[in-house]
Symmetry: D2
Subunit: 308 residues, 4 copies
């Protein structure tokens, strides 16, 4: 089970598809193994980057079961965000029965006011059950929902089953600091904070008190290194390796085409067999692929794992 | 099958739920009968007002089958909008096999440019199959997607299976006129135009050349009267009856709480057993229900069908 | 000076322009007289409907001075919303020195969270001065900013100079009730609530405890009647006259073209010489003008003031 | 005058304020000199980053005149975006009379459809005059307006006075390529393309055919180096220097606080006396300033100009 003390690297896994758009079950296994070899402590599946909203319910559970079967006890977080609570409840409960470590919930994009957000989580948790550990996903760039530190605090206070914040606000460094300050002053119980937003500020988020990374950058090895060095106090060492990856990471973190870039690299790395996105979705141009190839070649001078 | 010559009144049906949020199958039958008695020519199910995004796939098909079984050959349009084409294709094909007259597709809210919208419909129609008649839903207030008359024209030109526009832009009267002008000048083939947006401008849309109504106002009898009188050329007669309903209609057409108001009235009218919305969703206050009761009482002075 | 006890009808005045887009100073005087004859208790100028954001600072003050000169002591509220506090402070202070009764401030559209909104008003009031009475404009359809009842309460609590809410949320009836409930329970000091949103729900807002109207509907006489009858307890009488105007009112309250419709009617009524909007702005089609003419003719059967 | 053949580096200049929020005229001169020493070919003033919407008209012209007086004939582009055409026309004409090289126009955020955008530029150019060279600013992250390559082509075709695209779409590399492809095939006349978006993809944009940079990164020297090396064909040399700056550049390019970070660095570099933003605006925390100081120290190891 995920806990408030969880630290480390959780990779956000994409969902692999065959060229015809059907689920690529072989690649689900292969990708899961890839992430363990790359040093991930756990996996998060069926998130925004997992094209969850394009999956049928039975496909979602198929992925959950396959990944957990290959997890060897490592924690698997399952995204259960859905327009209706019926679907959320069903997926959350089936996933936990199948052995998931926690579920992750992002707010629907219609929410605007503080009370609407707090109320949404109250309703959602009442629906799925208060015994299921959950991750609060704070990703305004994707959801359009602005969650203040105080709203996070209210959600954490109201819901003992909230064990983790997936932090991907932008700008977001002072938000991490505010939460940790409240912990220090006793105003907020401790929760785990893992950072997303493509890792664009990971090395600095670690300095502000984050516990690790939860994002889909195609080189989880870098996330591993940065998190480990940061937790060990080697800030410049963490930053050094981060900086070598930043030109590529920035390219992968683009809106619209980011997931396509990520799948393209994961395919080159052998993690998945195809870089197909389920339609509707963008396609990479030859020039974009050439950009990625060139950035990989340059990265390989510093990090041999990029020599692919 | 729906055709480009379809005229009349299609009611947008809500999805009835039991107080515990599960599908109220008995009310599905009862509601379908209600609409036929109220004078509807056809029904549109699983739209935005049908809480379609909160339904599980099997529930959606359950509703489709039940409604068609009670339709006695009348045309049933099935909303198939979905974040992914896989789900859209599956629902569209299963619904048509079950006897639906057409499907309805609204653009996803991320679309912005003309080409994105045209391209989306091209992809969607390629996926579901070019032989399935479809309704283009133009509802910017709900989707955030602005579709110009020229984009509608391009979609109609590109897709022979486009038989109808569900028109609910606001303001939208000149849009109807522009499309009809193009038909008159031979620049656009004829399609059916049925009007939504809660019927807030129905009597004027009929004057601009619309073929009828496709909306969920809880008194389809009024839609029937306005459409019939308008098609018969009795514009003032149409307007007279429209005006008596406008105070209530305006109340029902509010954002956020509109569907709750509609279900409350439909329950009072005996169309459905419960006015439950599936969570998350708004709840009516006592004061709001009192407003509706009072507006109904006032309406009953002019239209005895409101005496409930 | 505007006070927390202000009741009645404040017309939102448009800004009259000559056909070449320059300020029509003669019409400013004429329009001001028109509103007094129509029964307005006060005027609100330089609001969203006043095309304030298209005016140069010297033009804004020209209008302020002209209107106040013709006001004969009646209260004039001046919209001072601006992207920067420097401009807001300058206009607010110059307007008050010129004899304005209060200023009105809408939140900028970038605000999202409760604290951002509360903080914005704190900063704005500190800038313009705590001695200037101000109207809080709550108009989410125009600003995109959702203000909860609790946020209004915090702003009222924090700022003694807040004397009035211009209420135009939609749906908004329960918001009025919530604020009045808090007043009744002693949790909120009394403020005046005048209602906008084109008066689409005016008769019901009065029933919920509003003090009057502050909106630009081109027949302020109707607002006068509805407010007077409502305050006198004649709810059905208020509703009767409201209902006769609703078909036209609904037409005028449309997004995008609403102001053009309003200016067209005001020109027909002799309130202004031209129905010009400053560019960029929409233009009415012949068909739209014909709609308005027809709705006016129908209205004239019930209300002879519409016979124009 | 700016021309379709303009290449090089245009710095986007902030507007310097004194701690009390008034215009810091001394810093305007100082900053202008700073940019010339840093290697800028020209300056762009009164843009989004120049807090233009918070300036009074007389302040805007004060800045224009001061900067041009210190420009020694170098081209100065003046942002003239405004809610109304009256203000745009006045500023554009006064700026050109004062010696500006061109004006820059961003679309207002309400625009959605292709025709709305094309029509807006047609109206705007008719207003300001067809003889004034203008820069089309394409910045969806700030404006919310999505401009396709085809819409840019239509604007360029319709308006001979369009000499430059300020490109800051994201993702945007394939957009640059599309425009250059059309130039190669003779479908589009040549225009200059300078790149913004904080330079986050500058080295790759140069590879796609851009002519230079127009952005406000606080080290214009880096922009100079990257543009020069790129134009000379030294792609890896350009990338090498770009990469050393990327950790800081990424920090400066954040939404909300980006301009504050930039002013903080510019103050440290002696370009301006104070890092004040005009209210309302964000303030940097001590931790954020410490982040910037640390990133500057690390950068100084590679680029001695950062040793401040």
């Amino acid at each position: 089970m995920l806990s408030t003390d969880t630290k480390g690297v959780f990779a956000i896994a994409p969902t692999p598809f065959l060229p015809d758009g059907s689920l690529d079950e072989a690649s689900v296994d292969q990708m899961t193994e890839f992430y363990w070899k790359a040093g991930a402590d756990g996996l998060t599946i069926l998130g925004i980057m997992g094209e969850a909203q394009k999956l049928e319910p039975e496909e979602s559970m198929q992925i959950v079961r396959q990944v957990i079967a290959k997890a060897d006890g490592r924690p698997i977080v399952v995204g259960v965000s859905a327009p209706g609570f019926a679907a959320m409840k069903r997926l959350a409960n089936e996933a936990m029965e199948a052995g998931a470590a926690a579920v992750m919930i992002a707010p629907p994009s219609a929410l605007r006011t503080d009370d609407q957000i707090v109320g949404y989580y109250a309703q959602a948790i009442a629906q799925i059950g208060r015994d299921i550990p959950f991750v609060l996903q704070d990703h305004p760039q994707a959801t359009g929902v602005q969650i203040t530190p105080m709203v996070i605090r209210r959600i954490v206070d109201d819901n003992p089953s909230c064990v983790m914040l997936k932090h991907e606000d932008w700008p977001g460094l002072d938000k991490v600091s505010q939460l940790r300050d409240w912990e220090d002053s006793g105003d907020l119980r401790h929760i785990s904070i893992l950072c997303g937003n493509g890792a664009l500020f990971l090395e600095l988020e670690m300095q502000r008190g984050a516990d690790g990374a939860m994002t889909g950058y195609a080189f989880p090895e870098m996330l591993r290194d940065v998190v480990d060095r940061s937790l060990a106090g080697d800030l410049d060492g963490a930053q050094d390796i981060f900086d070598t990856h930043l030109p590529l990471l920035r390219y992968e973190q683009q809106p619209v085409i980011g997931l396509s870039v990520r799948k393209y690299i994961l395919k080159k790395r052998g993690a998945i067999a195809h870089d197909t996105l389920r339609t509707p979705g963008p396609k990479l141009t030859d020039r974009t692929r050439a950009d990625v190839d060139r950035l990989l070649m340059r990265l390989a001078k510093f990090d041999p794992r990029a020599a692919i």
